[in-house]
Amino acid sequence: MKDNPYLFWGLAIILMLSATALFAPLISPFDPSSIDSQGLLMAPCARHPLGTDGLGRDLLSRMIYGARISLSVGIIAVGISILLGLILGSCAGFYGRIADALIMRFADIMLCFPTFFLILAVIAVVEPSIYNIMIVIGLTSWMGPARLIRGEILSLKEREFIQAERALGASDARIIIRHLVPNAVGPVLVNATLGIAGAILLESSLSFLGLGVQPPVPSWGNILIESKSTLGIAWWITVFPGLAILITILGFNFIAEGLKKIIG
């Protein structure tokens, strides 16, 4: 592990953040949604290490709960998109011809839409709770992984050890599960970590447009957006969530780089 600094630091950051998210109720000094009309916009001080926001809520607590939201949005959204990508990608890659043409054309169509249009369309039908956001981001970002997996499987299919498996009489399903997927999983994992980073960024951009996670539930994205109007006098409400997003995505990018080194 030591000879792979990227992976080491990446995992360190993400584990620390996951711990924060997991034990949020224990380590958060205040209830994130408790409004204190006397303590509006207090600068970072002993009582509020990261200061308070426009409604007098403690920023540190909101950031800690925000970690829970942003991380879970990232991980679950990418989980869905990777799962979908895996299924559709391997079918397109393995069964080829019609399946390939259909799935890839469908991916082309989906890729033509700007992400927020797809997301808006779904959010307009289902109101923007956290879970819907995760599902929506997942449903609208499977095209990248699908293409990647299809490419991997197309190249693997020609390799001789797959022909040998066929000659041994292995069924298609066995070949896909036992041989194609394990060999394709490396690059997919790298794509997944980058995907998580992308999903977290996307959630914060959605909050900017008012479509992200709805207040009072805190996510780094909507804390950051609410801070826009107080940038001049309350720099901390803008700086800290931004830094948190930066560090988290940096962590995932490091893991991706580290993984790339391992799978070569």
Partner: protein, 249 residues
């Protein structure tokens, strides 16, 4: 007679670059006929592009032939996927890099349920012993072996389900001469021990002379000559065969 190939033909579409006509096709196999006697070794010789590899893949059913039929004598070949196996040329490509040798050997045992789960380890180590490797190989990955050792593992895997016919597509061509010699001896030994039938494909005439009983010479997908090894090397009938022999001397 263990196998008879009748008028096997196969064409491949040729990619003429992104903008060329897609319809041009090259001939890979052109009405190939031959019979294979049980317990013998049929050598197939030809230069690259002669169609020998395609023929191997057609025989294994990995690629469908455009026309022609392959008739197996069911006295010998009752279960096609069990009784007919293949060894490829490039040892670095024919083993799943993500799978331990133990699991690679288990694959045929599981697919054809050759023996119950608990006996598989024993069977696997026996197979390794047959091809001259020891149990230490079990837990290691393909990347930790030399080319020669990997080819031995492939042989062990092919033998796992007790095949009758082994198609060897240039099995030793990419190895050093000394290792080629050792593997040839292994092939001969295994043929006797398990009463196998070989189809041995190579572009190296001296290897074919060493191992083949009968020889098939192929050029541009057609069988140019089919004769007993001894006759072919002494009195080649076809002009092309003479050229090959001349070039190799």
């Amino acid at each position: 007679m263990i196998l008879e190939a009748v008028d096997i033909s196969k064409k491949f579409p040729v990619e003429k670059g992104m903008f060329g006509p897609a319809s041009a096709r090259t001939v890979a196999l052109d009405r190939v006929n031959f019979r294979l006697m049980e317990f013998t070794t049929l050598g197939i010789v030809g230069e690259s592009g002669s169609g020998k590899t395609t023929l191997a893949r057609v025989l294994l059913g990995l690629i469908p032939a455009d026309s022609g039929t392959i008739r197996f004598n069911d006295a010998f070949i009752s279960d096609f996927r069990k009784d007919v196996q293949i060894i490829f040329q490039n040892p670095y490509n024919s083993l799943d890099p993500k799978m331990r040798i133990k699991d690679a050997l288990y694959e045929p045992l599981i697919i054809h349920s050759v023996c119950p789960r608990r006996e598989m380890r024993g069977k696997a180590s026996e197979l390794l012993r047959i091809v001259g490797l020891d149990d230490a190989a079990m837990e290691r990955y393909p990347s930790q072996f030399s080319g020669g050792q990997r080819q031995r593992i492939c042989i062990a895997r092919a033998l796992a389900c007790g095949p009758k016919l082994l198609v060897l597509d240039e099995p030793i061509s990419s190895l050093d001469l000394t290792i080629q010699a050792k593997l040839l001896d292994l092939f001969v030994e295994l043929k006797e021990k398990f009463r196998l039938t070989y189809i041995f494909i190579s572009h190296n005439l001296s290897v074919i002379r060493h191992i083949a009983d009968t020889v098939l010479v192929m050029k541009h997908g057609r069988v140019v000559e089919h004769a007993a090894a001894h006759d072919l090397f002494e009195r080649p009938a076809a002009e092309y065969t003479r050229q090959l022999l001349e070039a190799a001397r």
